[in-house]
């Protein structure tokens, strides 16, 4: 058999996800940001897991996304870098990770006939690559990214 040398060329492809919700963009933005603690699946996707008590996203550039445990410990998940109410929010992303492993998330809110399309793009995985690795390697990064994930069992937690 042969290994395809072009499996993952160039920069690591972003993770892109979207969902349509049945409310106007202004409200979708408001619920996504200021009410994140109401809907985020903390039990499965958090630093403290079953001990997680709350998740709060500040309102505005420079504000932080902070998880708090039942014992009062705090974990900063990231910092808001773009704040356009009703349109988009962007933040750095490093839940449970050291600063040098920060990646980037942008969430855009676009009006549709039914409500709002919420599109999320997660980039910056190149920063997780092994610095000594050759970018021309056929895996071009995902091996290192997933190895890092395996190292960081705390978040997201593989079950």
């Amino acid at each position: 058999m042969t290994i395809d040398a072009r499996t993952q060329p160039g920069p690591i492809a972003p993770v892109v996800k979207s969902v349509e919700v049945a409310c106007a963009p202004d409200l979708a933005f408001e619920l996504f940001t200021s009410r994140i603690g109401q809907w985020w699946p903390l039990l499965t996707h958090s630093v403290y897991g079953e001990e997680a008590a709350s998740l709060v996203m500040g309102a505005g550039i420079g504000e932080e996304i902070v998880e708090t445990s039942a014992a009062g410990e705090r974990s900063i998940w990231g910092t808001i870098v773009t704040w356009e109410p009703g349109r988009s929010v962007a933040f750095t992303w490093r839940p449970g990770l050291p600063v040098e492993e920060t990646t980037d998330v942008v969430v855009r809110f676009t009006p549709t006939a039914r409500g709002t399309l919420v599109e999320l793009v997660h980039t910056g995985w190149e920063r997780w690559e092994d610095p000594i690795s050759n970018r021309d390697d056929y895996d071009a990064g995902w091996v290192a990214v997933m190895a890092r994930f395996a190292d960081r069992a705390s978040f997201p937690e593989p079950e």
Binding site: L31, W40, M146
Partner: protein
Amino acid sequence: MPSPTSEAALEALADPTRRAIVARLRQRPLPVGVIARDLPVSRPAVSSHLRILSDAGLVTHRTAGTRNVYALRPEGFADLRGWLDSLWGDALTAFAAYVDRYEEGDRTP
């Protein structure tokens, strides 16, 4: 929630020796003797690690003459990427469900 495949892959990658083997195979397919060179474990141990990586779908091998040549299996890593992808999928699904509840009148602050 990772699929059974990606769960096995994550477990396989949790071991530093197996990550070192994967790092070696990133350059090109290699016979087990070359993989074992410079690694601080015995060759039978390397074979055992290769079997775990192979069972997890991350590594494949073919026979070249009398040697077994090992290579990374890109599909195995694609499965893992799918798992990462599903994390944000879970979050957005939870968000959409919350919007529905909110619109139906559950406005608990």
